[in-house]
Symmetry: C2
Subunit: 355 residues, 2 copies
Amino acid sequence: MSSIKNTRILDVLNGLPVDKTPVWIMRQAGRYLPEYKETRKKAGSFLGLCKNPDLASEVTIQPLRRFDLDAAIIFSDILTIPDAMGLELKFEDNRGPFFDKPLSNSDEVNSLDPNNIAKKLDYVANAIVETKSKLNNEVPLIGFSGSPWTLSTYMVEGSATKDFRKIRSAVFNNPEMVEKLIEKLTFSITDYLIMQAKAGADVLMIFDSWGGLLNSENYLDFSLNPMKKIIANLKSNEGTKNIPIILFTKGGGSWLKQISESGCNAIGLDWTTNISYARETIGENISIQGNLDPCALHGTEDSIKNAASRVIDGYGHGHRHIFNLGHGIDQFVKPEKLGILIDYVKEYSMQYHLS
Amino acid sequence: MSSIKNTRILDVLNGLPVDKTPVWIMRQAGRYLPEYKETRKKAGSFLGLCKNPDLASEVTIQPLRRFDLDAAIIFSDILTIPDAMGLELKFEDNRGPFFDKPLSNSDEVNSLDPNNIAKKLDYVANAIVETKSKLNNEVPLIGFSGSPWTLSTYMVEGSATKDFRKIRSAVFNNPEMVEKLIEKLTFSITDYLIMQAKAGADVLMIFDSWGGLLNSENYLDFSLNPMKKIIANLKSNEGTKNIPIILFTKGGGSWLKQISESGCNAIGLDWTTNISYARETIGENISIQGNLDPCALHGTEDSIKNAASRVIDGYGHGHRHIFNLGHGIDQFVKPEKLGILIDYVKEYSMQYHLS
């Protein structure tokens, strides 16, 4: 089995006791780190960075040199899949990634090619192999994908828009198109995650960044059920059946019970949901990851510790909590503040893990 | 007491039986109506429209000429209060309202003047008086204000921003400033709502559009508790003690229980929360307003009816439901689709009101 030295996160995901609450940070390899910016400059572009296994593994490792983190997460972008399916991803300075020609009808959806994703995205596999080698079994490596609904959202909107009216309306006026797109993505994402596990990912996470746009019935139909299918696919596949899965729907606080029945090992919680309430709602067989308000990192040292204590106290005694932010760290955080947070979580959480 | 002919909405708010589910639509006086655009053109500007009682009452009435609505809501903007406090509101074409000089420190907050709001905003009172006269007691008129937290958000950010990082960070690194600002707004909003009731508003609604940005502890401290104070102020004031109050926190699905204990008569529900779940959570003593996905109005006639049925069935038998969207109607909706929805709600809901 695994010869990973720091197994805290794997233990929490498998329901085993740990000595302190493990911690990693969404977007921990990112723009708040000067060394990340240096490497990105070297890569020339964001997509260049994703596609260069040497540099992608370098930025993946960077936060672990600074902080006492319990996991690495492979550096990549969720929009590589639509790109590989034929919807060309573009990047411009001072703007997030976008699609020049977003999908507007069923014909365009039909022309997407969901096959051979593993081959088309072999640069991600290569980055994982190289990262695993550099990690030297110190901590586990998390692989990830966007959810079918979230990728559909970007593919129809073109980018993150103000109110996502196109995709939200398509659910009502062209549900067949959205269903077809989601079906293709479900297929591709399954392949992609299996590939990541084969390459060495120890944990898999599904980011459903935009599930919270949907009403509750449509959340089940268009977002949760396709994710459930992916999880079932992974759990029935020889290479991935034992790999823990974290499912994160931002804005999913109303649907925790349903998410907890998806087959995932842990639920990612955004900062708006009270963690005690979440634990009560989902019971003791699923772990919770989260959920510090990312803006707490702009506070003073005392206020950071105070906010972190509330999350840890809120979870209380028990071993099924992975500390994280409720959303990705933003580029304006000072790295030393993140250091204060991580050290504090380790120290403060010990009291909740005494036998 | 009131001599209003159509009392359905007042009855629902007061827990009395009704023959069908009443309905009104957030932003029903708005850009999706060609006659609104005409009147706005006449006014010259958005703020000009707000400040002209004749034209403001005209656009308030317009949707009632087309649709079988059970209430009117006075046409105005939530940002008139900050403007009256001294933070000058600006409008430019193709951009929402904004503040040129958003608040950045406590001195700027201290210099705001929360007094004499009723006098400074007498144009709203005048618009209410004129609307009441035009309504001729057919249906009740709803008055409204933004919540202290939501107004603070705009006053610190300058406008609706991508991630609201300034105000969300201020909560952690300058809570004193935010608290001071909220205190002033709580005072002004109380005055403003009392003034609206005196002028003739039959129902008061508090729009907490951005409460959903906060983590659960901070939602209570910075958003719900100030709203509770306003409600307590209104309930202890002779002129407003019997006026029903609707409280709407967008993204507040995790906090329904706490909101139901605020003293309000009804909770506005956005489209992401299941209405059956909301009813179970808050019990039978509070009404629910909502919560059709606004994008459902971009569907076919059948899909509109289907989506509306789900909301009405989801609430089920009982008299404490006001049908509405889960957010304001958008400018791209075809008016005839809204007509289909409203007629259908009236017809379909009757089965749930038989004795």
